[in-house]
Structure formats: structure tokens, C-alpha cells
């Protein structure tokens, strides 16, 4: 399977935060022949180690496996499921959407009464998510309980479709697109030690990245993401965050992080000299694992590269195939150039091994 096929396959798997198993299993099957060591930590992060040739910094590549979704909280006597949202989802995007419930993927639909039965005022605003239920076709509570349990996670059920001008619509592009890029990167060979971290529970507060980065203790980290894209109607030009098709987006700052200037400049130089299109993310909202990883240990030089995805955090998002391919090209080049740039002091790091030494003194392990 090439990277694009792998991406499409990844978007058919369910991995709501805390239940990333199916995604992890598939990723493991794809990378196991290309890496030197594989471990799953106690939180469920998949950490792959790829030994380098002893040059440059220790690099962590991060992509999160989890997606936003729902969690069953109650089963009504009519056999309908009440739910909470996991990660940032607004109620407007929920009505009428197909879902899969639990690890067996029980099909369901988030239903609401049709227009004929609604009061006038019900038609004007969004329905509160507390009033929505998932219908799994059960006739009563008993029958529903045979198929699902309270605590089951619920994922959107939409298969990927290629359409239009090189576009792909699929669920969970945030961050399966990062996972697909990372899988592709792990198939290459590099001069520096690379730790590919497929992390859990990003959508509910950057949790997996905390323990993954503590285990790895990297010097440099690249966060591979799918990010907001607002080249859609009703958005003023100055509020557009990124544009679909204009190349991978680089973060300068968001609510979680101000990225390392030297590393950002290096990436921009690499993009320019290799004629790879790129863009800056023009808003400072949202957060990524970069924020968590940067303050790990004695500090990590971080940058975030992302494929712009329209309609992010809804059942279906849209991306451009060229952005995906350019993100792979750009991040590959970054991995190639980093050892030399590091040795030349371009990332102005005066005591790069301090974190690792301290970690070992405190009983940490050398490799995963």
C-alpha cells in the first residue's frame, strides 16, 4: 500500500480518545518491518524506535491516533442511547449522522424529530446535544443492552471518498493524516535516531504526548497534524487560518505553544530551497501536542507541520492530496537536513545532552 492508500485505510478505523486500539494495531502491522524497536506504553502510545548513524539530535515525531467522538452515558427505556461528546464537537454537526458504537461497531444514527413535528422556535437554533440520542434500532432497553454498554465510545461512520480536484473527504483526517505521514517517514532511513510516536488522547487535553515525550526525552520534536482550514464561505479573509491546496501549514503560535524560531526558520529554508509549497497557519487558536512536548524534561525544540483540513471535528473533513504529498516531502527533507544543521549549531542549543543525562541519573531508560 502506498501512503495515500494507507491514509484512506486509516480513516475507516475507529479510535475515539481512549479507545485507539484498532488504529494502533493497523499502524503496528504497517511499520513493524521498518523499525528497530516497538513498544506500547501504559497510556497506549505506540513508540517506534529507528536507530540512526549516530549523528545529530534525538528526534521525536508525533502524530495522534485518536479522533473526536461520543461516549454512551445512558440507555433509555426505549432503547435509545444518550451520550457525551469526547473532544471538541458542536451539536450543530451531529443531527442525522451515521455512527458506529462500541468495539463491535454497532451501526446507529443520531436522530431528531423531523421538521413536521418541530415547534417553530425549534427550527431556528441548533438542538442541544443533551436532547439528542443515538438510535441503534433496538426495540427497548433490554435489546439495546445486548449490543452496547454504557461507556462504549461512538465514532462517525463515513467511508473515504475521492472527489473533485484531488480532494479527499473522510472522517478523522485529524489526525490520521499525521499518522499516515509518520508511517511513510518510518520507512526511510536517517542519520539521527528517530522515535515515531503515535500518541493517544490528544483531543481531550494532549495527554498521551506527555508520557511519550517523557519516555523518549527528545532534543527536537516534529508534530505532524491535520489543522483547521477556513477557505470556506462566510469567513473573512483575515480570519482564514489555512487554505486547502496551498501546501503544508506551519504553526508559529497557538494556545498551547510558541514554536522554536530557529527550527521554524530552518523548515522554511528547506521548503524554499526544495521548491515545496508551504503556508503559515494564520490564526493562533487551537492546540497541539507541541505544547505538551516542548516543556518536557529540560525543554524540546518543537515545530508543527499540518495538512489543512476543511470541516475539521465534524463527521467528514476534506483535504487536498497535494498537501499530503508535500507534507511528506517537506518532513522527509527536514529529517535529512537536521543532523547537519544541529551540528552546525543552527538550533543554538548549548547543552543538548543534559536532559538525557539527567533522565538517566534519575533512573530513566536509554531506548524504548
Amino acid at each position: 500500500m502506498d501512503a495515500y492508500e494507507i491514509l484512506k485505510k486509516l480513516t475507516t478505523l475507529d479510535g475515539v480518545s481512549g479507545e485507539e486500539g484498532p488504529v494502533r494495531d493497523f499502524i503496528m502491522s504497517q511499520i513493524k518491518d521498518h523499525v528497530d524497536d516497538l513498544v506500547v506504553d501504559n497510556m497506549g502510545n505506540l513508540i517506534a524506535y529507528k536507530k540512526g548513524k549516530g549523528r545529530g539530535p534525538k528526534i521525536m515525531l508525533d502524530a495522534h491516533m485518536d479522533e473526536v467522538g461520543l461516549l454512551v452515558t445512558q440507555i433509555t427505556c426505549d432503547g435509545l442511547l444518550k451520550f457525551h461528546t469526547i473532544g471538541g464537537i458542536e451539536s450543530r454537526v451531529l443531527v442525522g449522522k451515521r455512527v458506529r458504537v462500541g468495539e463491535n461497531g454497532v451501526p446507529g444514527i443520531i436522530g431528531y424529530k423531523p421538521i413536521h413535528l418541530q415547534e417553530k422556535n425549534e427550527r431556528t437554533g441548533a438542538v442541544d446535544k443533551k436532547r439528542l440520542t443515538i438510535d441503534i434500532g433496538a426495540k427497548d432497553r433490554q435489546q439495546a443492552e445486548d449490543k452496547v454498554e454504557i461507556g462504549d465510545t461512538v465514532a462517525f461512520a463515513y467511508d473515504p471518498v475521492e472527489f473533485g480536484d484531488n480532494k479527499l473527504m473522510a472522517k478523522a483526517l485529524d489526525d490520521r493524516v499525521g499518522c499516515a505521514v509518520l508511517i511513510e517517514l518510518l520507512k526511510g532511513s536517517y542519520e539521527c535516531d528517530v522515535y515515531g510516536c503515535f500518541t493517544v488522547q490528544e483531543e481531550i487535553g494532549l495527554k498521551g504526548a506527555k508520557t511519550a515525550s517523557f519516555r523518549v526525552m527528545p532534543n527536537v520534536a516534529l508534530i505532524l497534524e491535520g489543522t483547521t482550514c477556513y477557505d470556506v464561505p462566510d469567513t473573512k479573509e483575515q480570519s482564514m487560518s489555512t487554505r486547502c491546496g496551498n501546501g503544508p501549514a506551519l504553526t508559529v503560535m497557538d494556545r498551547s505553544v510558541i514554536v522554536d524560531r530557529d527550527l521554524l526558520n530552518l523548515i522554511v529554508d528547506i521548503a524554499k530551497s526544495n521548491n515545496i509549497p508551504y503556508q503559515y497557519k494564520q490564526t493562533i487558536t487551537g492546540g497541539t501536542n507541541a505544547g505538551r512536548i516542548q516543556v518536557n524534561g529540560t525543554g524540546v525544540k518543537v515545530a508543527a507541520i499540518a495538512v489543512p483540513c476543511r470541516y475539521i471535528h465534524t463527521p467528514v473533513s476534506v483535504m487536498d492530496k497535494n498537501d499530503f504529498e508535500n507534507m511528506i516531502r517537506l518532513s522527509k527533507k527536514v529529517l535529512e537536513v537536521l543532523p547537519k544543521a544541529w551540528e552546525e549549531g543552527r538550533l543554538s542549543n548549548s547543552d543538548e545532552n543534559r536532559a538525557i543525562n539527567l533522565y538517566r541519573e534519575q533512573g530513566g531508560i536509554e531506548h524504548v
Binding site: 480570519s239 525543554g299 536532559a355
Partner: protein, 326 residues
Amino acid sequence: MFELIKSLTQTYGPSGNEKKVAEKIKNLLKGKVDETRTDAMGNLICVKKGSGKKIMFAAHMDEIGIIVTYIDENGFLRFGNVGGLPQLIIMGQRVRFENGTVGVIWYEENIDNMKNATLEKMYIDIGASSREEAEKMVKVGDMGIFVGETVLQNGKIISKALDDRLGCAILVETALRNVETDNEIYYVFTTQEEVGLRGAKTAAFGIVPDMALALDVCDTGDTPNCKPMSVKMGKGPTVKIKDRSVISHPEVKDRLIRAAEKANIPYQLEVSLYGGTDAGSIHITAGGIPSGGISIPTRFIHDASEMADMNDVENAVRLLCEFIKG
């Protein structure tokens, strides 16, 4: 001391871009400390070696500012905040970018109620007449700081960025006074405090001190109709009891009070309901680090004209020197 504060407050250093401030401090302390290093977050760590307790002092180098998010076709800049910006008082302010470019913050004038004047409705005019012209001066992602002269009047200092170049100046001055002690002193100048106490976290992890103090500014309760608070400008540096990020460790707090009383230094107890300091990050690092803080009572924090009393600054240096002797 005033000249030191003036030089530090006028240096460019919004969060994530503290290099110039670090460079200046490094030069000031050259030859005065035993070791100087910089970590991956850009924290400047200056060590005075000793065989006794490891004591960490933290003051943050970064200041609040703005970040350019978009440049329109007429050369106006749209921006977001770096750190906490009170939206109503930034209108009409000047900002300056690292390369010296100056701009004026203004707002879309069709706003009917100024409460709706959010940052999205504001822009920066740098006098450029087109996007091309503007892009020669600034680019998306560049950060600007507020312009505010540093003046001394009636023993009060008025300036931009007293938060927290005052803390930096106090640490520099304390290091220069070179108090005799067995303790190992870490003068740490941290980064990215204004965006979430980030630098102090990695600095503390790299040191794991026996105790730590954050040197910062705190609000006062002595201006017309302000929120009630017992701290007053000019009545001495504060011994922090708590702020929103930390509850001071009792032993650290007591050691500060003992030091102040022994040397007859005026001090006030600080209970801050708003705002956090680097101590908030430090005290929960590694296995936990007893932490507290000394603050300079400062009016109009996060405005381009903050105000503090020079006597409080001098007394904070004296208090630190006493604290070091322990």
C-alpha cells in the same frame, strides 16, 4: 539601578523571542557567576557554585505583545494576543517590531458598542500602502511589543515591561552584590511565562533545586475604586502567600519573613486572586520543589505604562541577599 531597569525594559522580548534580553543579561553577569547555560526553551541559567542548599531564583524575560496573523491588500495588519491583553486599553497604543518597525493599533470604526471591539475588529497601521510594501517591513508570525518610555519621577518608575524586567533587574543586581554564602544559587531568567509559565518548567527540571522563589510583579489595592487588596505600592516588596498558580510553601514563606525581620526590611504579605507566576510551574516539577515568591507591587500591569516604587525594588534586592545567607 534605574539605568539597569531602563536598559532591560526597553529591550525587545515578547514570549518566545527573549534572545536579546538574555544576551543583555549574560553580558551584565559575565565573570560574576561560575557557570552560564541556556536550555532548549531559551532559559538563561546562571550558577554561583556552592556546597550548601540549591536555591533557584526565577524572573521571566518575556513580555506581553501581539503577533501578526494576516496582512491585507491595503497593508493593514491583523493580529492576535501574546499573553493577556486588556482589549480596551490597547487601542491607540504604539507597537514596535524587532526590526524597529512601528505601528498604531486602531479599530474598525463601525463598531456601535466598544464592548464589541474584540481583537478581531482591530488592526495595526504601519503606514504601508499595499500588501507588498507591508511585507517588506513585517511578515505573518512576527511579534510586536508595546512602546512605553522608561521614566523616573518622585521615586516611582513608569515604563512598559516592568512585568517582569523588574524581576530580572533585581536578580542581576543581587548576583552583582555577590553575598557570601555556602549555598548554590541559580539565577534563572525564564522564557514564555506570559503564555503559561512554560520556560520555568524545563528550567526547574534541569536544576531540581531544594527551594525556589519567583521574582515578579503583583497588583496593588491603592488606586481609586480598585479591587480590594492589601498590597500597596511603596510599602515594601511582598512575601507571596498565594496567587492563582501556587500556594507558597510554609518554610519558604517563613524563611523570607525571618530574613526581612532580621535585616529590618519592610515587607507586605501578598494574597493575589488573579495572575500566576513561575512558582506555579516550579513547585510541581520533578518530585515537588518548595517554592514561594517575592513581588514588586505594580500598578497598571500589562499596560504600556506600568508603575512601581524604586524603594520596593531596592528592598527586594536586600531581602534576596538576606534570604541567600539563610
